[in-house]
Amino acid sequence: MSAVIDDHGHADHAHGPAKGLMRWVLTTNHKDIGTLYLWFAFSMFLLGGSFAMVIRAELFQPGLQIVQPEFFNQMTTMHGLVMVFGAVMPAFVGLANWMIPLMIGAPDMALPRMNNFSFWLLPAAFLMLVSTLFTEGGGPNFGWTFYAPLSTTYAPESVTFFIFAIHLMGISSIMGAINVVATILNLRAPGMTLMKMPLFVWTWLITAFLLIAVMPVLAGCVTMMLMDIHFGTSFFSAAGGGDPVLFQHVFWFFGHPEVYIMILPAFGAVSSIIPAFSRKPLFGYTSMVYATAAIAFLSFIVWAHHMFVVGIPLVGELFFMYATLLIAVPTGVKVFNWASTMWQGSLTFETPMLFAVAFVILFSIGGFSGLMLAIAPADFQYQDTYFVVAHFHYVLVPGAIFGIFASAYYWLPKWTGHMYDETLGKLHFWLSFVGMNLAFFPMHFVGLAGMPRRIPDYNLQFADFNMVSSIGAFMFGTTQIFFLFIVIKTIRGGEPAPAKPWDGAEGLEWSVPSPAPYHTFTTPPEVK
């Protein structure tokens, strides 16, 4: 490492970024790339959100009003794909890029050029994916889970673009994950042992291994689709000796670890934020690390709980039910640890803390419905209803998204050098909190009453709660434009932030000035 710095010639006086647009195109700086990822994720969040607004507008009342079923299906599909692959995953990669080097005392990510490439693949992938909406025959309309044969034999022609877009996103994710692993394992400051790493670094290390393990499985899955569609194979076609259920096994072997990919980094961030605003060390650091590893391991052996009604044999059904129930144990440990961290602390409720506490409570509600869904006989009633939609939106919105918001407010002073406006931040939280609960809580009720998911129209008995859901969704959606305003306001000015704006915060990232200089830790810090 030192040889590289010597070669550079003027290592002793760090230089700033290049000027103009090319700074962003050619950058290999982890902070720049982190910023790019975060802005990209936020723009995808708004785009995926606008698709959700179309869905909720159509479901505002029974009957077909705004869109036809064909287009409605494209909206549900694109909403899921854009939110999962475009918003949540890139946002966490952005946070990883910004924060992991700062947290472990590294000068940058281990593989900076690959870092640049893995980001710039994403706009290309999503341009291709979103462009399919304007093609003849429309975009993907088979749900974000794209079950064959609906997504093969019966798919619109744009499915090929969808497949290549997924390939590009997968390549991007794998490269990002390799970069995270290489950085964490090689570039830690002297004295930063594995068990001294902040939990955000730990959860990202484990997430990165999950990504490396399952993204190739997804790539294989879509490649088999490609072969079935264009090259006459029959992986998923029963008529040719193939097996449509195989598709679901392969997809969910990717898909279940994927849901932990979207939540583990949030676990890590919240594990920094709650101690900071409780002014008390994290309770049970070691058990947090082991619980994360246990969740990651279990995530590989529970995939078929998404398929309880496809007709897997009794023994298989029982195995997947038991394994799924087991996940509640390490997840429970995490929740108990967060609650114990707050216990007898000295609590204040700045915006990051509000989002973090809401994260713990609302994610737990999503966990409870997950526990209910794990009971296979009961799942026969829940499967593919709005109860499931409520469940995974509770783990993804107040889970992943609130985790990202909490992180953004927590680290905005470090990124921009300014304090955000606390009043506006709290307003953003409360509007999001109320809107999100209004939107998603009633979905439990309509699901239990028997409303299937992914339908553009419904019986009158579901009308009232759907209207409430839509109002909540519009409220939540509009509020996020307000978040954009808060962030821009913080970038452009505000009270200057000290190096460590939160008195209870711990970690190396607070030892550098705010805003963090373009190059940090060119000389590794000493960790005791």
Partner: protein
């Protein structure tokens, strides 16, 4: 308005009626079978377990949020581990889960025991309707959505069973073990009747089993539960459970109808008769894709109005209706419709919407095609 009191009465009744429909249902209904009641009990047990855990954990968190705030002058304690507590909150949840898994396993084993059935019914999912075949009884029929398009498009008031009504319900006898053999002719569907706690995916190339034994007669409604394309939301399930004598009478009636249908094939049909029948067939079997005016939804679902096939040689037209078009959504209707209905719908398509070919296909021609196929 005062001169028309019945209008006010009507509005009043309507508002009470719609209030009754607009039930703010928040929970699952217990159901109509032993199994669905067992499932409901499992659902409520796990729900209350979650509520209790939630009250304890969230209670502790809210206590901290109220009592351990810095603004109350609270100084932070410094503890950060407690091995005994940590072991306890690993083991106790584990034991709760085991306690939960035991009744769930017992119920699941019962649900999987589809042996010794009294009646076997093959349920086949099609885009976008259900087909029921009473095995060994020579009775089979399609069950289509009965809600008129005007209600869906908000041109007329929606009925109580909006989107949950069909032309021909599945009919079952009360208190008999019915085994369902569930499969699909195209994409994956899922046959779901909440009152029976039966939900089974209908998968092309697979036959899945499920069973039920319904305690009391009545109408039970459900919907397709797996995204299956454009009209996934428009393929409901209605099951009519009758007393055993009523069921027998119904079955005999259906058998007689089937025999009658066979006679229709040998009848001499006029073009006009075929067109009239074809109009009806078209509006149940074809309209979802090819649309009311034959305009289709290109490019996924081509137009028939003025199309090469509907105005070309009769044999090609019959062939595509009979065999479908592999690799597209166009199904092989040779297996779905009777000879008369195929003849009628082809004749209709060739003469509707200004296609005006003036020719026709007779049921006998369709029968010949069918016989040629089976040889």
């Amino acid at each position: 308005m005062t001169r028309h009191p019945h209008v006010w009465m009507g509005l009043l009744l309507w508002s009470i009626f719609s209030q009754a429909q607009a039930a703010w249902t928040v929970n699952m209904a217990p159901g109509a079978t032993q199994i669905s009641n067992a499932v409901f009990d499992l659902h409520m047990t796990i729900f209350w377990i979650c509520v209790v855990i939630g009250i304890i954990v969230f209670g502790a968190m809210f206590w901290s949020m109220m009592m351990h705030r810095r603004s109350t002058g609270q100084n932070a304690a410094n503890f950060h581990e407690n091995t005994r507590v940590e072991i306890l909150w690993t083991i106790v949840p584990f034991l709760i889960l085991v306690a939960m898994a035991v009744p769930a396993t017992a119920t699941l084993i019962k649900m999987y025991d589809s042996s010794e059935s009294d009646i076997d019914i093959q349920v086949t999912g099609y885009q976008w309707k259900w087909h029921y075949k009473y095995l060994g009884q020579d009775v089979e029929f399609f069950s289509n959505l009965a809600t008129p398009a005007e209600q869906i498009n908000n041109q007329s008031a929606k009925g109580e069973h909006y989107l949950l009504e069909v032309d021909k319900p599945l009919v079952l006898p009360v208190d008999a073990k019915v085994r369902f053999l569930v499969t699909s002719a195209d994409v994956i569907h899922s046959w779901w009747v909440p009152a029976f706690a039966v939900k089974r995916d209908a998968i092309p190339g697979f036959v899945n089993e499920a069973w039920t034994r319904v305690d009391k007669p009545g109408l039970y409604r459900g919907q397709c539960a797996e995204l299956c394309g454009k009209d996934h939301g428009f393929m409901p399930i209605v099951v009519e459970v009758k007393s055993k004598p009523d069921y027998e009478a119904w079955l005999a009636e259906r058998k007689a109808e089937a025999a009658q249908l066979k006679e229709l094939t040998s009848k001499e049909w006029t073009q006009q008769e075929l067109i009239e029948r074809g109009d009806k067939v078209y509006h149940t079997a074809c309209v979802a894709c090819h649309q009311a005016e034959g305009q289709g939804l290109p490019p996924m679902f081509p137009a028939l109005k003025g199309s090469k096939i509907a105005t070309g040689p009769v044999a090609d037209h019959l062939n595509i209706v009979f065999h479908g078009k592999p690799g597209t959504s166009m199904a092989a209707f040779g297996k779905q419709l009777s000879e008369v209905d195929i003849a009628a719908v082809v004749t209709y398509e060739r003469n509707a919407w200004g296609n005006n070919k003036g020719d026709m296909v007779t049921p006998k021609q369709v029968l010949e095609l069918k016989q040629a196929e089976s040889q």
